[in-house]
């Protein structure tokens, strides 16, 4: 008889915990509706990623340009041409349109950029092919920017 009582007690406790857990979850899911994206009030012109400060341009650095060209040729040209749209946008004039830090963050952190940066999101919607993360270092990404900067004198300022 005692054993039976014990089982009954366990059953009650188990039922109680199970039910209260369930109610908590239900309450939470009502409070936070899912899948509604609220854009940030002010998107940073720098984009989102490891580059959090403005990139300052000095005089064009030829060594950096040479490295940037090599990296661009190997890692980027499968999808980007400088003077025409390919899989992704043409890039010769990208620095006229975008902040250099934004370009570097798009190179270094594309997965987050296309999800959270409003401009990158829009570009992904237009081009559909994902911006591949080619795992460049910050220095390599900076060199690519230098190469593009040098390619198009309009963007040297």
């Amino acid at each position: 008889m005692n054993k039976l009582f014990l089982f009954f007690s366990i059953a009650c406790i188990t039922s109680l915990t199970a039910c209260s857990d369930g109610e908590d979850e239900a309450a939470q899911s009502e409070a936070e509706p899912m899948e509604i994206y609220t854009p940030k009030a002010k998107a940073s012109p720098l984009g989102i990623g490891p580059i959090t400060e403005e990139v300052t341009f000095g005089t064009v650095d030829p060594a950096m340009v040479a490295e940037g060209e090599a990296v661009f040729t190997q890692m980027c040209t499968a999808c980007h041409k400088l003077d025409k749209r390919h899989v992704g946008p043409a890039l010769a004039d990208v620095l006229e349109r975008r902040n250099p830090a934004w370009v570097m963050n798009m190179i270094l952190n594309p997965e987050v950029m296309v999800k959270e940066d409003p401009v990158a999101k829009q570009l992904f919607a237009e081009y559909l092919s994902p911006m591949a993360n080619q795992n460049l270092t910050v220095e390599q990404a900076r060199a690519v920017v230098e190469y593009i900067r040098q390619y198009n004198p309009q963007s040297q300022q």
Binding site: T14, A78, L128, S129, A132, Q134, N135
Partner: protein, 654 residues
């Protein structure tokens, strides 16, 4: 809410049922004690990681399965000795050479015993070795890439079963003949077994820097069946132990003829002594061909090398190198305890286990206390080497694992159970049923000096009613037991791939941090690699056409090719330009009579295609790579052999 009410009603019902169910061992159909506790113990929440990697041999599928514990989830099947069309392994030009042997290209083998590399007797997480039983070979898998990096053929051998059972610093992996044969091979009557058949045990050195193997020396032994092995550790470091059966030297109806003797032997091999004989030049150099295949690190191309010579020691002429320990009833498994002192032999036709003592063995050897000499090899006296006998009460003992805390666990095939016993008192402590007919069992770190006492896995030969039926052929079954307490507890039952023999595991932290995410394009030295789309091209050399192609999400470059002719041999060299984790591309060519190939980021793979018909044929990416994966395709035009259509290629030109 309805479900919640159901749950509330069901839970107490389960508690009542399992509490009243007694020990559970009487229940022949299920076996788990308390479903709720067991479920919690094996539950790995979505996105969380398992605690252990466990590497299962695939047995007759020739592969290795990578499974997580405690969940039992399968993460990957690594192709080793068998071709795998999914990955192009054994089909593409880079991996074909891995399966070369002196018998030619062998697309299959029977993979038995995975063993993780060790340093100071502890698992170090660098490499996994596994033996091919049918055409004697040993493979090394690199655990940074989970790919087969090397396969070495074992000459003068047949039935490489007692393998690889490496030494405590991975100095050697070993290989023994389960089937004695004429060595070297010759044309003789099988009836001359006793005169002409011999056994051979090989010690294969492992380079500590890169794991590369080579055959250091071989030891010629009497014509028994060398079944399983275990290398010494601690005080017994320098010795390796092999079970033998068929000391009767039967050649037919072995199930009867090989079971005549009351005792067979455990062969104790002093490999440090063998090294001395080699160093002193007391060996014969034999002409013995064997093929050694290795993947070149930079190009990822497998290269085969045929080697010609081995150093052979004749055990009968090398005093102090080999001794026989009499062991009852055709012993199968031999397992050295983590302390290195005890050598457990499982007489598979017996109820009892025989435990030999290494220190007693050394005393008997030093006293030269021999019972007899067989084929020039001293046989020690049973009563002078035996430390104890485990009176198990079970039937058909096969293998033993240790938990490092004084307990041993032995599988019993005939009585279908795991028996836990004390190392030292030889008393049986606990027993649990397996479902059904257990072969090997595994505790992560098993065979090393530091096993992790957490889980035990039984790998079973018979499945019957454990899962939903799938016709006459069933998946093999495995069970996971919790061994942290005094009593073993059944937690989980899961199907396995192929027919696992041994499995070995270790904590995930020993391997996970070193797992490679992609190959650096800069380091790709494949002669047909392209490092950017600027380099893609098509070149003709007579009937051979080389397509230097690249792939990235989501296109091939080039994707329009013309000028191929019937009778050409087209080499598709596809480089995956991606430089990120989990971005493979596949390449499949309509009508290719080999397979697809799957190209990891940064690598180059080559698929050969020999078109037989005129027309325009598509190729495409098989691995869903992006939202535009369905667009990742191209065309190749095939013209008649006599045509003069010029070779041309393009991408994105209208």
């Amino acid at each position: 809410m309805k479900n919640l009410i159901k749950l509330c009603l069901l839970l107490p019902a389960l508690v009542v049922l399992s509490s009243c169910g007694g020990s559970g061992s009487e229940n022949p159909t299920k076996g788990a004690l308390n479903s709720n506790d067991a479920a919690e113990a094996v539950y790995v929440a979505p996105g969380e990681y398992d605690e252990f990697y466990e590497f299962f041999s695939g047995g007759y599928n020739g592969q290795v399965s990578v499974v997580g514990l405690p969940s039992g989830r399968l993460f990957r099947r690594i192709p080793v000795f068998s071709v795998d069309a999914e990955k192009g392994y054994g089909f593409d030009e880079e991996t074909k050479a891995m399966l070369n042997t002196t018998h030619g290209f062998i697309p299959w083998d029977d993979a038995h015993h995975p063993k993780l590399s060790q340093t100071n007797g502890e698992i170090d997480g660098r490499w996994l070795f596994i033996n091919g039983n049918n055409t004697p070979r040993i493979a090394r898998i690199d655990l940074t890439t989970f790919e087969t990096a090397e396969i070495i053929e074992i000459p003068n051998s047949a039935g490489n079963h007692s393998s690889p059972y490496l030494t405590m610093n991975s100095e050697y992996v070993v290989a023994g003949t389960r089937f004695s044969v004429p060595i070297p091979q010759k044309d003789v009557s099988i009836e001359t077994y006793k005169e002409n058949f011999q056994g051979m045990i090989s010690f294969i050195s492992v380079q500590p820097e890169d794991g590369n193997m080579d055959i250091a020396f071989q030891i010629l032994l009497p014509g028994f069946d060398y079944d399983l092995a275990s290398s010494g550790k601690g005080p017994s470091h320098g010795w390796t132990f092999f079970t033998t059966y068929n000391t009767e030297k039967g050649r037919t109806l072995k199930e009867a003829t090989a079971s005549q003797n009351d005792k067979d032997f455990i062969a104790a091999i002093n490999w440090k002594k063998a090294e001395e004989f080699i160093a002193a030049g007391n060996y014969e150099e034999w002409d013995s061909e064997y093929v050694h295949n290795r993947v070149d690190e930079g190009s990822h191309i497998a290269i085969s090398e045929t080697k010609q010579k081995v150093k052979v020691l004749n055990a009968a002429n090398c005093p102090g190198m080999v001794y026989f320990l009499p062991t009852p009833k055709s012993p199968h498994g031999v397992d050295v305890s983590p302390t290195g002192e005890y050598i457990v032999g499982c007489g598979k036709l017996s109820a009892d286990l025989t435990v030999h003592s290494f220190s007693k063995m050394m005393t008997a050897i030093n006293a030269e206390s021999f019972e007899t000499v067989v084929d020039g090899i001293p046989v020690l006296k049973y009563e002078e080497v035996v430390a104890g006998v485990v009176k198990s009460g079970g039937l058909g003992p096969l293998h033993t694992e240790f938990d490092g805390e004084g307990n041993a666990y032995t599988s019993f095939f005939i009585s279908s159970e795991v028996v836990k016993w004390n190392v030292g008192t030889w008393e049986v402590i606990d027993r649990v049923p397996s479902y059904y007919s257990i072969g090997h069992l595994s505790i992560p770190g098993g065979g090393s000096m530091k096993p992790w006492r957490q889980y035990l896995i039984s790998m079973n030969k018979i499945t019957k009613d454990r899962y939903l039926p799938t016709g006459p052929e069933l998946a093999h079954s495995a069970q996971l037991y919790d061994i942290t307490g005094d009593k073993m507890r059944l937690l989980l039952d899961f199907p396995t791939d192929g027919e696992p023999h041994y499995a070995q595991g270790c904590p995930a932290d020993l391997i996970k941090p070193n797992s490679k995410k992609f190959y650096k394009l800069d380091e790709n030295t494949h002669p047909y690699a392209v490092k950017s789309e600027e380099d893609v091209r098509v070149e003709r050399e007579g009937k051979n056409v080389h397509v230097y192609m690249s792939s990235i999400r989501s296109h091939f470059a080039p994707d329009n090719i013309e000028g191929i002719k019937v009778g050409d041999k087209v080499y598709w060299h596809v480089t995956n330009l991606e430089q990120d984790w989990d971005t493979p591309h596949g390449f499949a060519m309509m009508g290719a009579r080999n397979s697809e190939t799957l190209i990891m980021p940064g690598l180059t793979k080559t698929l050969v295609w020999e078109p037989r018909e005129v027309g325009v044929f598509p190729f495409y990416c098989t691995d869903f790579c992006s939202a535009l994966h369905q667009e990742m395709q191209g065309y190749v035009r095939v013209s008649p052999a006599s045509s003069d259509v010029p070779l041309k290629w393009s991408l994105g030109e209208d």
